[in-house]
Amino acid sequence: MTVSATPDTIEQELIDFLETRTKADWTPTRDLFGEGGLSSLFAMELVVHLEQRYGVAISGANLKLANFRTVKAMVELVVRLRDGA
């Protein structure tokens, strides 16, 4: 679990994770499920990964696809949840 990672570190770690899992190149703003072509079912793997890696709990209104559509959106979600906002 990496609870103290900076936003830049989280962003790079997520890009590395996606590139390992999908064998494709990613940028912070590339739409995973639109132009990226990933199955929306993969979004749940991202939920579990963020929870395990960054020690956040994702539920309720935060559990929506928009929060997982890009690396940038996921970084913002982790930072927001980690800071208790």
Binding site: R21, G37, S39, S40, L41, A43, M44, E45, V47, L63, K64, L65, F68
Partner: protein, 293 residues
């Protein structure tokens, strides 16, 4: 649905805690319906409880749950008798393996226990309903469905009355599916119905192309997605169906229809032999981070 209403609601009984049983359970729970899930294997039920909890989150994530509806309560048991001796079920869904003898044995026990007029649904991708009707006390109460996987995400359901199914039982089953926000499409009883009759030989052909070295699985799927608009590609679909289930269904089609395109190709048989059953086993045509029973 309020908590009090959920307590009073008739449960859905689902027999078989495999991929389809857990998917149908998730769908009903997400709509506030109490579910009793039955399987002979306690370990399978324990895994199913984890899968259902995960799937309920997936359904919420993808916007597939109705607003302002708390999930229904889930009960699991290894005893079909116990499941059927509680409050009268609204519907019983049999979702055991795609084997006519196994399905017939479960349906016979269900039919001998539930009250007349309770819809008994066999969820099958290929087996003719009237063939299964030979095992039940009241063929009028039996009909088939073919939910697609994941059942909690795919909104259209193939519904298959047999020639002896009563019209009011079909109406009751369609009403229940409507309460689960599914769109039922009723088709005539026939091996493989419509969807499997079309889809399964196509997947078999796709696997045969990989077997013959014409293209990789990734490229077959990429061509089908990019050129023909298939949502996932046929071989990723095979992984989602479960390659063992796919082979069972192809066998049923081949025996009953005689179409040689339905004879499972060697590559599919090898994957079953090696335990590479698809997403649920962690490996099929593709590798998965974790198994999804």
């Amino acid at each position: 649905m309020t908590a009090a209403a959920r307590e009073e609601a008739q449960p859905l009984v689902v027999v078989g805690a495999g991929v389809m049983g857990t998917g149908i359970t998730t769908l009903a729970l997400a709509h506030g319906v109490p579910v009793t899930l039955v399987d002979v294997d306690r370990a399978v039920l324990d895994r199913a409880e984890v899968t259902v909890a995960h799937s309920l989150r997936t359904a919420a994530l993808l916007g597939a749950t109705p607003p302002d509806t708390a999930p229904g309560p889930l009960t699991t048991t290894t005893s079909l008798s116990d499941a059927l001796s509680g409050p009268a079920p609204v519907v019983v869904v049999e979702a055991v393996v795609e084997d006519p003898a196994t399905k017939a044995a479960v349906l016979a026990q269900v039919s001998a226990t539930v009250s007349a007029g309770t819809p008994i649904i066999s969820n099958t991708s290929s087996i003719p309903i009237d063939e299964l009707a030979a095992s039940v006390t009241r063929p009028a109460d039996l009909l088939g469905t073919h939910f697609m996987n994941p059942a909690y995400l795919i909104t259209t359901v193939e519904v298959v009355p047999g020639p002896r199914t009563a019209a009011d039982v079909v109406a009751a089953a369609k009403k229940f599916l409507g309460e689960l926000r599914r769109t039922p499409i009723v088709v005539r009883d026939s091996p493989g119905f419509v969807t499997s009759r079309l889809l399964h030989p196509m997947i078999n052909d796709a696997a045969r192309l990989v077997q013959e070295g014409v293209a990789s699985a990734e490229d077959v799927d990429a061509l089908m997605r990019g050129c023909l608009g298939h949502p996932t590609g046929p071989l990723r679909t095979a992984d989602l169906i479960g390659i063992d289930n796919l082979v069972d269904a192809l066998d049923v089609l081949h025996r009953r229809v005689g179409d040689d395109r339905s004879r499972p190709c060697d590559l599919l048989l090898a994957k079953v032999r090696d335990g590479h059953h698809g997403r649920k086993s962690g490996r099929g045509f593709y590798d998965y981070e974790e198994a999804h029973p």
